[in-house]
Amino acid sequence: MKIGPASGKPHPAIIAEASAWFIEFRAGDVDGEARLRFIDWLRRSPEHIQAYLEISGVWAELPASDPDGKIDMSSLIARARCEADVTELSPAGSRAPRNPFPAVLHRGPKSPR
């Protein structure tokens, strides 16, 4: 009998859970009771631990500043604000839908919307 998951591939749903936990900590929203639930979640499976470590690693490698102003923050915000609500996100693990306005971050012609 095989015990545990195939090596190195946490289930997509677990990655989504790990991401949610990670952001809870970023938001400072993990109080005493949530902390116990987090510990419980970590202990449930090595896959959970692996997923959380992966998320932490990915986060650490994201740039934490933009000294040269490469990203046009205000146009990004403006675009985000007029975009339709995206609460219904594609399910975890499925290929994300192609953004209709790919060049989101580049200064350039405004999107047609």
Binding site: R35, S65, I77, T87, F101
Partner: protein, 176 residues
């Protein structure tokens, strides 16, 4: 051996020095829940002392015993497995390399890489990530900026970081 006499001796010491003993213990113990147990042990040892009549200073004697009890308690403690706050360890992972002084070339590369990643995401999700991670907005501020609730801002951020990870996994760790 005058056991009854010994008892009244200990009772007298307890009445006189009991509260001082507890203070003595509580400032020396990390866990105040242990104070009562150790005070008990000090008095039990005092009960077992032979020839209490020859003790000149019951006070000094009491606190000498107390010191021994604390020492032995510390030894017992250190041989127990250390309890680790696993949640604290894991939550600390969140900042890791962002505190390092950025290598400029690598940093520029990461920004370009981020732009590429974000192309695959709905604009709000992408914007939430950039505001929070790159521009340093708090989760609440991200929500305010996008005109959504704090909970929704968290969903966007979770979705974004999940996407970053999945893209990285799909590309076999060669980029980002």
């Amino acid at each position: 051996m005058g056991v009854p006499d010994n008892r009244s001796f200990v009772a007298g010491v307890a009445a006189r020095y009991g509260s001082r003993l507890r203070r003595f213990l509580s400032v020396r113990l990390r866990n105040t829940a242990d104070v009562q147990d150790l005070a008990q042990e000090v008095f039990l040892r005092l009960l077992r002392v032979d020839g209490y009549e020859s003790i000149r200073s019951p006070e000094a004697y009491l606190f000498t015993i107390a010191s021994h009890v604390i020492q032995q308690h510390a030894v017992r403690r250190s041989s127990e497995p250390t309890a680790v706050d696993i949640a604290a360890v894991f939550s600390e992972l969140r900042t890791s390399s962002s505190d390092d002084p950025p290598d400029q070339v690598a940093h520029a590369q990461r920004l370009t890489e981020l732009e590429r990643i974000l192309d695959h995401l709905p604009t709000r999700v992408a914007t939430a990530l950039v505001l929070h991670r790159v521009a340093g907005y708090s989760v609440q501020e991200v929500g305010d900026e996008l005109g959504v609730s704090r909970e929704t801002a968290k969903k966007y951020l979770a979705r974004a970081v999940e996407h970053c990870r999945n893209l990285r996994a799909a590309e076999g760790d060669t980029t980002l």
